[in-house]
Point group: C2
Chain length 282, copies 2
Amino acid sequence: MTAPNWLYENFEPAGSSIGYRITRKLDEVQSPFQKIEVYESTDWGNLMLIDGAMMLTTRDNFLYHEMMSHPALFTHADPKQVVIIGGGDCGTLREVLKHPGVQKAVQCDIDEQVTRMAEKYFPELCESNGDPRAELLFDDGIAYMKNAAPGSLDIVIVDSTDPVGPAEGLFNKAFYEFCFRALKDDGILVQQSESPLVLLDLIKEMRGEMGKAGFKTFKTLPFPQPCYPTGWWSCTLARKSGGFDFRENDAAAKTFDTKYYSADIHRGAAVAPPFVAAALGE
Amino acid sequence: MTAPNWLYENFEPAGSSIGYRITRKLDEVQSPFQKIEVYESTDWGNLMLIDGAMMLTTRDNFLYHEMMSHPALFTHADPKQVVIIGGGDCGTLREVLKHPGVQKAVQCDIDEQVTRMAEKYFPELCESNGDPRAELLFDDGIAYMKNAAPGSLDIVIVDSTDPVGPAEGLFNKAFYEFCFRALKDDGILVQQSESPLVLLDLIKEMRGEMGKAGFKTFKTLPFPQPCYPTGWWSCTLARKSGGFDFRENDAAAKTFDTKYYSADIHRGAAVAPPFVAAALGE
């Protein structure tokens, strides 16, 4: 490859593409589950791709990691027990552990190689891995949730790749039933839910499966994420009952720094644009 | 070109790229000012490119056009006289004319070919061109603002291409001074202000130039825009004095449809994420 060059991810389901100007490939490993590549870019720091799909860049991952964690943790009254399914780059774990009330955060990613690559090429995301409240498991997330003690968890964050390949089983009723059982009555399930512009059908389907598993209320929060298709992404929160009012005062007075998340951003993201509200029947 | 194929815009200043899967080129014209191309895509309707830069797609242009118009018009107490500099695709004009209080909306784009292409390939954006309140001029926007009667306008919307090429003169103190003079004391200047993630320096510079021209208060509103670099874009509002509280009740009770804009979205966009607020000194 001659440098600099352009590396594209053509996202076939939406007919759109995201690309970056890269200077060189830093690493590549074929794990038992997927191909992981890391590139150095001219403007975005390092990029990680899994099976050809952009997973994160040094420059913009804060958007996703902050929005996958803080809205749920500030919606729950007092989150202590958190499980992250997937999330092998450890960025979501780092955000979760910023909450002083969290007593334990388990990260269960099936692919240890993702974490090894993150330690090497995104060390800032792994800076909380040594926190005594953190537990890193490399195992099947579906089995982990199946075996979790009923009513033991406050928050489950499904920080996975797209619903194809290894992550496919994380988007259906069977898996959501395990989550439902493992969560306490006031618990919250969070899942990355793709682009609200082009994948609204997927969000509807996901909510439908969550509903079949027993979840009663849902909230989809959009946020910018340049390295994902369309540059506009979302997470979806689900509860057994109750709404999504959040601890606004606590969020406004939080004792840790964030770059994107704030009480105001949370409030703004919680109101769907008209076309999204119409599609989701909100 | 074999179909389907991928068409990319490599955005050199940020080292990122946006692309679409296209089926064929529908048209191409070299105007005296720029090269305009229109492609048909598999998932995004038609695409218009100017000098190789994505300008709009059928599918996602509503985001930009709604956010370039409604926040300013609902911030002004009673906007009657509106001028759009650029905006040749007529999408912003259509949104402006949705406000029943607007008495006149002048669109002044230097390149008539942009409007001709829009009429042909984006007819839905041109559906208000025959409104008796609309006036379409094909002339130099800088000269138009220079010659505008002092204190005659409520809103000036600068809906231009990037600050290179024909639009370069729309991003400096000299042009902003014309806008300042033409606006009434409670008038509002709106300008598309690029990506808040990668082009914060440009937003700061633009605000600086606006300030040198006399504008005193500023508000940058981010919004998703998949066809522009990083998929996250912004507009910046400037006033001679006063703040950016908006007519929330009127916006909530508006008599026309929008797909993205709402009073809630406006309120949410008006609060900068922490990293943007820090960079802009808000």
